[in-house]
């Protein structure tokens, strides 16, 4: 009985309940197919926001090119499925095609991660703002390279991608990414990344190989972005280079910072609320984009911890690791000063 309690935890029941509830509401027509699609897009945005959180929130780097990695994942996986499905004689509804989709998704993720590694290794020696620009440049570069490749439709985009993504896929991947992010943050790697964010020089003095951990964080987040891209391509059935423009990356920034940078809860809330909100603001037509911008400005100026407010969901079982803005470092310094250890 005791073991049972350990295996079946409250939140698992919650997840299954949410999953079934959304499916049920959709089958009853209370959530129409359009809103259902938006919910699935929100799931993909949550995954992207979590991936951005690892770079911007946890490691303290600044990436403006996350959409570029998403594009790599989307295109690679779409090429694999569109080429292989007819060869194997499968239809999108076959069970085996799901296996193929998983394969394509992972390959897309790995190649995106490789792209992340390639850009991270040499560029991480440049800091802060410059890194933001290089990632922006990288994202735009990928987009303009895709535009040149006629095989994937060039600027017109890629059509006839099989619709393999469904709600189950997205739900499962979101949960996986939430839990792996949790594990990453609480692992040695994650703590090293947090140390780098708080004070890079101090972290290096303590023997943390900053470059190594930054590369790991960057590569891992590119991998997640690649997976999100694969889901995105097979959900929309049509992708074009303009889907992954700079605007996409800046949208992700809105999700992350309004949700609460540095926290998993914040990323999930931000990704979900900011994707769903415009649908309920439809009556305001174009003004909703203005409201969007105002919400971002309000949060960044008055509520730096976002919607999550520097709190984490209890079941994740982690303390908050939101940006402390150097407060932690100051505290440590003060502690040393009081005891007179810091004096030479």
């Amino acid at each position: 009985m005791k073991n049972m309690k350990k295996v079946i935890r409250k939140e698992y029941i919650c997840f299954i309940a949410i999953y079934l509830l959304i499916l049920f509401l959709n089958s009853q027509g209370i959530i129409n197919n359009y809103l259902f699609q938006v919910i699935m897009l929100a799931g993909i945005n949550i995954i992207m926001t979590l991936s951005l959180n690892l770079v911007n929130g946890i490691t303290g780097l600044f990436s403006l090119g996350q959409a570029g990695f998403m594009a790599i994942g989307a295109y690679i996986s779409a090429i694999i499925t569109t080429q292989l499905l007819p060869v194997l004689g499968l239809r999108a509804s076959d069970a085996l095609s799901a296996v193929l989709f998983l394969f394509a998704m992972i390959i897309g993720g790995i190649i995106a991660a490789f792209g992340g590694f390639l850009i991270a290794r040499p560029t991480l020696k440049v800091k802060g703002d410059y890194l933001a620009i290089i990632t922006l440049g990288f994202g735009e570069l990928i987009r303009s390279v895709i535009r040149l490749i006629e095989f994937v439709g060039g600027p017109r985009g890629m059509i006839n991608i099989p619709k393999l993504t469904n709600f189950t896929w997205i739900f499962v991947v979101v949960l996986l990414v939430v839990y792996t992010s949790r594990n990453f943050i609480t692992s040695t790697y994650g703590r090293a990344c947090l140390a780098i964010r708080e004070n890079e020089i101090a972290a290096e003095a303590m023997g943390t190989d900053a470059r190594k951990y930054k590369t790991i964080a960057f590569t891992y987040s590119a991998f997640i972005a690649g997976i999100a891209g694969a889901l995105f391509a097979h959900l929309l059935v049509f992708i074009s280079p303009d889907n992954f423009a700079y605007a996409k990356s800046s949208d992700l920034l809105v999700y992350l910072y309004t949700g609460g940078v540095g926290t998993i809860t914040g990323s999930v809330l931000g990704g979900f609320i900011m994707t769903i909100m415009p649908e309920f603001l439809r009556f305001m037509e174009d003004w909703r984009l203005v409201i969007y911008a105002l919400v971002l400005l309000y949060t960044i100026i008055f509520r730096p911890y976002g919607i999550a407010g520097n709190r984490e969901m209890k079941f994740l079982g982690i303390k908050t690791y939101a940006e402390t803005e150097g407060k932690l470092w100051k505290k440590i310094k003060q502690r040393f000063k009081k005891k007179g250890v810091g004096k030479a």
């Binding site: 703002d129 290089i134 440049g137 570069l141 020089i201 971002l296 400005l297 960044i300």
Partner: protein, 299 residues
């Protein structure tokens, strides 16, 4: 040979617009170490404000003084708007990590674009831009140079020269340099740092406004999203030359313009990506840009 000179003139025209916009980026970065991603949107604002001022003055025809009034009025209006945005959106964030002001800049940029898109006088549809300058051509030894090209290159160079003089010779420029070196120290010396930062924003936005007028005279179709691409390129120019360095911005802008025009003459679709490749390569070998000096971080 004729074709080469023609390309160089065209490159100068493109490059000087980049350089002028990059100067604004660099000025702001130099003083508060913040990348003003919304800077290019002030260029777009400049284009629209000048269009409205010009239409308001259309009763007078278009003698030279109307054009002058349009330019000066646009510059003043946009400069004031720039100062206002700085006070509202950026000032509260000054003591936070630089990355949060970067996000605020993204927010400001989204706000300006979408707000203009919503208000009926501007709207989402591209507008035709009136020709403020004559469209005559001058031909010297087979090379055709349009009057607009001369105006663009001339005005940008005069403004860039004026900026150099402003920064190095005047009291305001010296206060700017002092504030960018050490804010607390310059405040102790009696410099009103907040005022200087606002003035910097005003000057930067004013330059962007003029840039908007010049750009739309060359490409006379203006819309709210026009600034995205050119903003990125101007920004690359600033980074190339070493952000924070006004001479570097000019160098970077002209270089990028030239390279882009040359590449365009070979293959038009490569040039946009190529500018990013050049930037990444230069930053890898000279992380502080061409004219920038690498700062060592103090503990």
């Amino acid at each position: 040979m004729v074709k080469a000179i023609q390309l160089i003139v065209y490159g100068l025209q493109v490059g000087s617009i980049y350089a002028l916009l990059a100067t604004g980026y660099t000025l702001v970065y130099g003083i508060i170490k913040m990348i003003n991603l919304a800077h290019a949107d002030f260029m777009m604002l400049g284009a629209f404000v000048s269009l409205f001022v010009y239409t308001a003055l259309s009763g007078f025809g278009s003698p030279w003084w109307v054009v002058a009034v349009v330019i000066v009025a646009t510059m003043i209006i946009v400069a004031l708007l720039g100062g206002l945005v700085e006070r509202i959106a950026y000032k509260p964030l000054r003591n936070r990590p630089t990355l949060s002001s970067l996000v605020a800049a993204v927010g400001v940029s989204m706000f300006i674009q979408n707000f203009l898109r919503c208000i009926p006088v501007v709207g989402p549809v591209p507008r035709a831009y009136p020709s403020l300058f004559t469209s005559a051509n001058i031909t010297i030894g087979g090379v055709t140079i349009s009057a607009i090209q001369i105006v663009v290159i001339g005005v940008s160079f005069v403004l860039m020269l004026a900026m150099q003089l402003l920064v190095s010779k005047t009291s305001i420029g010296k206060q700017m340099i002092a504030a960018s070196c050490d804010k607390d120290g310059s405040a102790l010396m009696g410099i009103n740092v907040n005022r200087i930062i606002s003035i910097t924003f005003c000057i930067g936005s004013g330059l962007a406004a003029i840039c908007g007028i010049l750009y739309s005279s060359v490409y006379p179709s203006i819309h709210v999203y026009m600034a995205a691409t050119i903003g990125n390129k101007a920004f690359i120019s600033a980074v190339l030359g070493g952000i924070g360095n006004t001479k570097g911005a000019v160098l970077g802008g002209l270089m990028l313009g030239m390279v882009e025009v040359l590449l365009q003459s070979f293959n038009s679709s490569v040039s946009y990506g190529a500018s990013f490749v050049i930037m990444i390569i230069i930053l890898l070998y000279k992380p502080a840009g061409l004219l920038g000096t690498a700062e060592t971080e103090k503990v």
